[in-house]
């Protein structure tokens, strides 16, 4: 029947992933909204983290990347 464990895993993973992405991106916007170079740099780093999260998403979508042998 229903694999509740799997559902809970999916729910937790989705919450964490979406929460993390939104938090980092929102922080990047917030921090970047300032003329000081330090904050600009911090904002760029945060955007970098977002880019990394998106790349991880692509990694998960493309089977050749996460499952090269087709197992």
């Amino acid at each position: 029947m229903i694999d509740w464990m799997a559902f809970v895993t999916v729910a937790v993973a989705a919450l964490l992933a979406a929460g993390l992405l939104v938090t980092v991106f929102a922080l990047a916007l917030r921090v970047g909204d300032s003329p000081t170079p330090v904050r600009k740099a911090a904002s760029l780093v945060l955007y970098g983290v977002c880019a990394f999260i998106v790349l991880f998403g692509i990694f998960l979508i493309v089977p050749a990347l996460h499952d090269p042998l087709g197992l």
């Binding site: 799997a6 729910a11 993973a13 979406a18 992405l21 998960l60 979508i61």
Partner: protein, 384 residues
């Protein structure tokens, strides 16, 4: 009935289904970026089409579950014949078009399952081939869980987004939306084109034109990729309107970003951690969640209810059409021809009905018609 002609008909119908699958699901990825003005309508569907095309080539694992999951094969079950696949496909296409006409986002996979189930029931003249427990655990319960989970994730993401940013910073979310919605499109391409490839391959194997146990041939992959991309580019504008505006009014960039992030995260988690969820149901849930999450935004529960009702009747409705088609095909040897004629008539009728009130790219009024997102020049203004 000549087998070659039958196979040709099935392939043609499978590609038509793939096309309807494409335009039915454009909204999942692109409704919110269009609603917030992050992308122009035409740009959005073009981007989605390209990503679907690319996605279709990325994965070569055949979706064998199309026939294996719900319909029992082998001992105590029945042999899936090309005629059943044809009847099932007609059911799926007709239901996809009806829901599109009504502007309802509904799962194309469920329509396909429904059509095949209906055809299988008539083929066996009993409910024996249908695994009721699987139907409940794989389709009915996930249909409730998907929107609830995605809605919760999206609600919390929206709260975070609005909690952290100040009002004047929120336009920046438009840039992020382009990326999150692109991920949804790519994931869609890798999954959904697979289903049609699986159906065509199954048919070729069943007809003895391809060895058992082999994957889709290259021309099948190309044809399916093009069909789903063309469908996506044609852009089911009616469904985009429902998803982008019908469920909750005036989606803001921060909401769009949160909803898309929730959709992407939920779908990727579900495909990789072994709990299959429908993309359409996840995306709809996300839009509802973000509607609840922003102060001052409201959710049109009447529209949401209509969508939920659509999900409930997708399988029985597509199944009824599939069953009817299988019944006609079983009566006389030229029954399949009658099926195809009826299907063509249905497609034409729905298309003519849709001409009464067209919804196209131009129908969408966008808040800020920027060509593409450009970082806004900073305004020299004191912080609020």
């Amino acid at each position: 009935m000549d087998l070659t002609l039958l196979v040709v008909l099935v392939i043609a119908l499978a590609l038509i289904f793939d096309f309807t699958n494409g335009f039915h699901d454009t909204a999942n990825a692109m409704a919110t970026p269009i609603a917030t003005g992050a992308l122009r309508p035409k740009t959005a569907v073009a981007l989605a089409a390209v990503l679907n095309l690319v996605g279709a080539f990325l994965s070569t694992e055949v979706a064998k579950t199309i026939s294996g999951g719900l319909i029992r094969e082998g001992d105590g079950g029945l042999q899936i014949t090309p005629v059943m696949i044809l009847a099932g496909l007609i059911g799926a296409i007709v239901w996809n078009l009806v829901t599109w006409l009504l502007g309802l986002p509904s799962s194309s996979s469920h329509a396909l399952f429904g059509g095949l189930i209906g055809a299988a029931i008539v083929g066996a003249w009993s409910f024996g081939p249908i695994d009721g427990a699987v139907l409940v655990s794989k389709i009915l319960i996930p249909a409730v869980l998907a929107p609830v989970l995605a809605g919760t994730v999206s609600y919390l993401a929206t709260k975070i987004a609005y909690g952290i940013t100040r009002k004047r910073q929120r336009d920046g979310f438009k840039v992020g939306q382009v990326f999150t919605s692109s991920l949804v499109s790519l994931a869609h391409g890798t999954n959904d084109a697979q289903k049609t490839m699986g159906v065509i391959t199954l048919t070729l194997i069943a007809a003895g034109m391809q060895p058992v146990g082999t994957g889709p041939q290259f021309w099948v992959i190309v044809a399916c990729a093009i069909a789903i991309a063309a469908g996506t580019y044609s852009g089911g504008w009616r469904i985009i309107r429902t998803m982008g505006r019908g469920i909750t009014e005036g989606i803001e960039p921060a909401q769009g970003f949160s909803a898309e992030a929730a959709t992407t995260a939920t779908i990727l988690a579900s495909t990789h951690l072994g709990f299959a969820l429908s993309t359409t149901q996840v995306a709809s849930g996300s839009v509802i969640g973000t509607g609840i999450g922003r102060k001052g935004a409201s959710v049109r529960w009447k529209t949401a209810g209509r969508i939920g009702l659509g999900w409930l009747i997708t399988i029985p409705a597509a199944g009824t059409v599939g069953a009817l088609m299988a019944f006609i095909a079983g009566l006389v040897w030229w029954g399949v021809i009658v099926d195809v004629v009826l299907a063509s008539a249905a497609i034409l009728t729905i298309w003519l009905l849709s001409r009464r009130g067209t919804v196209e790219a131009g129908t969408f009024h966008q808040p800020e018609p920027t060509a593409f997102v450009r970082p806004k020049r900073k305004k020299k203004r004191s912080r609020r």
